[in-house]
Symmetry: C2
Subunit: 345 residues, 2 copies
């Protein structure tokens, strides 16, 4: 049992699933869908009878008593909910559109039932960028959701293709953040990880998601949408650790014109990280990476997250309560950064 | 011009090439060798007439006046030399064996010409593990080299296959470290990086090399060779940043028996990082990742490196002179950690 603190603990990357999502994932698993990252991830979490995946399924599907009890036990005041990865990404367009709408309606209803305990991000279907932009607008303006979330590649496509940019345009216009969450790594990345059981959250998620964020940056996303706010979990998937090398090697490679696809940007990669990117501590409660990100990105760009139910460990809340930062910075970290970024409360 | 300091600056990941290596790489490029990582890396550095690759070629081939002058200008007392990536890795076995021997002889001769300025690591040919183990022994005991180095995958093979373990056995028996250096990412990883010009040192090297190190760890390398010392450049390719998540997710995944290939280890991944792994600052002179690695791995496991000639920037030496650590820790960082690990002087 974690005690109350002189700040609200707002956890910003907390997953739920819907029954319809599990039904559609079951259809994919049974129907020969051949994406190896999806099969590894959901073949395990949806079908394994081991203790961990069984428990995760139960916790994902609950948006009432069990979840609220877990939040009370671990001292979490507010969960910012999002449809669990892989979201609607692996689905055909028609099912993806329908699931994004029904999941947003369901989570909005849960927020209405527990308005002091939940806020939520909107799912959307990149398979249909125009629909996605409209659904984000509906979810934010009609349902009161606080931003949007996507889970890596969509059936093998990266969102740095300009055909997807209506999605980012909508988020910038609505002034809400967009969250880039991991999924099972892309089929053209996963092979050497899968061979050794390293494709999941242990390593592969970080590679796939860090690469996705970097692809968006070097494609010029923030030159095109300079006010866009991108949230990345797991301490920014290590991009803040790499900031110097990213700047140096991107700079010399662009100047040498090594790749026709690699164009000059208006600013350094680390400038976009500092100004457009926010990171959360999901799954990464250790102090050293948190201090690094606070130093590299600034105190106001680092937010608390738990990664419920995949990493539901009360001791990790206590670890972050014990961060050696000022009381004001700790309140920003747990509470006010999230309130400002997601316009909560 | 960087002034002398109250410590020797020993740079521990400094590259050279031999004329024979370039001749053999040229044969690969002309002969239809189809490894996309090699073609991207050496198609550029060997063939481009842009200013950077031309200059890099010239600096790689020099082991006398030009290099010593650059060391003097940038305040480097000693370079620990190694055959530049991709080393002998992309070559057929006969050429790989011959190049490892000739390169070791050439670098030993350079050390003999400049005994106060150079030390060196041994190349070896993983294509022939028995030959590799013998060549490491010859290089260390007969030529006075200080350890061994390999460059990621060898023609697509990762060194976690037990058929390669005679190499690690030799290093442990000789009590010399083995250095894991990046190469162009594996063909089953590189696709989505190459599309956006991100396969090189800017990002892909770190993914491929971090994965290689992690594959070695989860394969049980350090359970089998508990005294083996593995050196990883570029601040450990971010593995120290990920240490908590590596431990947590590896632990829960092993316990759920998710993968038949993923077996329990004797210790946590972070224990091996702290005890068996040493990291160098090649290409990563920024203070925040250095402090993180010093905290996570310990002051005696973090060593200075420049990454000459790929990143020859005198200001970066000054950045690291200015680290906010004690004088004793700074001497350890620049000098005595390297002297102890590589048994220099």
């Amino acid at each position: 049992m974690i005690a109350k603190a002189p700040y609200k603990r707002i956890a910003t990357e907390e997953a739920f699933a819907t029954g319809e999502q599990f039904r559609l994932y079951g259809k994919l698993l049974d129907g020969g869908y051949d994406d190896p990252g999806f099969l590894s991830l959901w073949g395990f979490y949806l079908r394994s009878e081991a203790e961990r995946p069984k428990r995760v399924r139960e916790m994902l599907l609950d948006l009432d008593d069990l979840r609220i009890r877990h939040m009370d036990e671990s001292g979490i005041d507010v969960q910012l909910l999002s449809l669990t990865s892989s979201g609607v990404n692996p689905l055909p367009a028609d099912e993806a559109r329908a699931l994004s709408v029904s999941a947003n309606d369901e989570v909005a209803a849960a927020v209405a039932r527990h308005p002091t305990r939940y806020a939520a991000l909107a799912a959307f279907a990149p398979q249909d960028p125009a629909h996605a932009a409209k659904e984000i607008e509906r979810a934010v303006t009609k349902l009161g959701l606080k931003g949007a979330i996507f889970n890596g590649h969509t059936r093998g496509e990266w969102l740095d293709d300009p055909k997807f940019w209506a999605i980012f345009e909508a988020c910038e216009a609505l002034d809400v953040p967009i969250y880039l969450h991991p999924t099972g790594p892309h089929r053209d990345l996963i092979g050497p990880m899968l061979e050794r059981g390293l494709d999941g959250a242990v390593f592969g998620f970080g590679v796939d998601t860090g690469l996705h964020a970097l692809r968006l940056i070097v494609a010029g996303l923030f030159d095109r949408f300079p006010k866009l706010k991108l949230v990345i979990g797991h301490m920014g998937e290590a991009l803040p650790f790499w900031y110097y090398r990213l700047d140096y090697m991107h700079g010399v490679t662009v100047r040498a014109k090594r790749y026709p696809t690699l164009k000059p940007l208006k600013r350094k990669i680390s400038d976009y990280l500092r100004e457009n990117v926010y990171v959360t501590t999901s799954g990464m409660p250790a102090p050293e990476p948190i201090y690094l990100c606070q130093k590299v990105l600034g105190m106001d760009h680092v937010l608390y997250a738990m990664d419920y139910p995949y990493q539901f460990v009360a001791d990790e809340v206590a670890m972050q309560d014990a961060l050696e930062i000022s009381d004001a910075d700790k309140k920003a970290f747990f509470q006010t950064n999230a309130e400002r970024l997601f316009k909560l409360g």
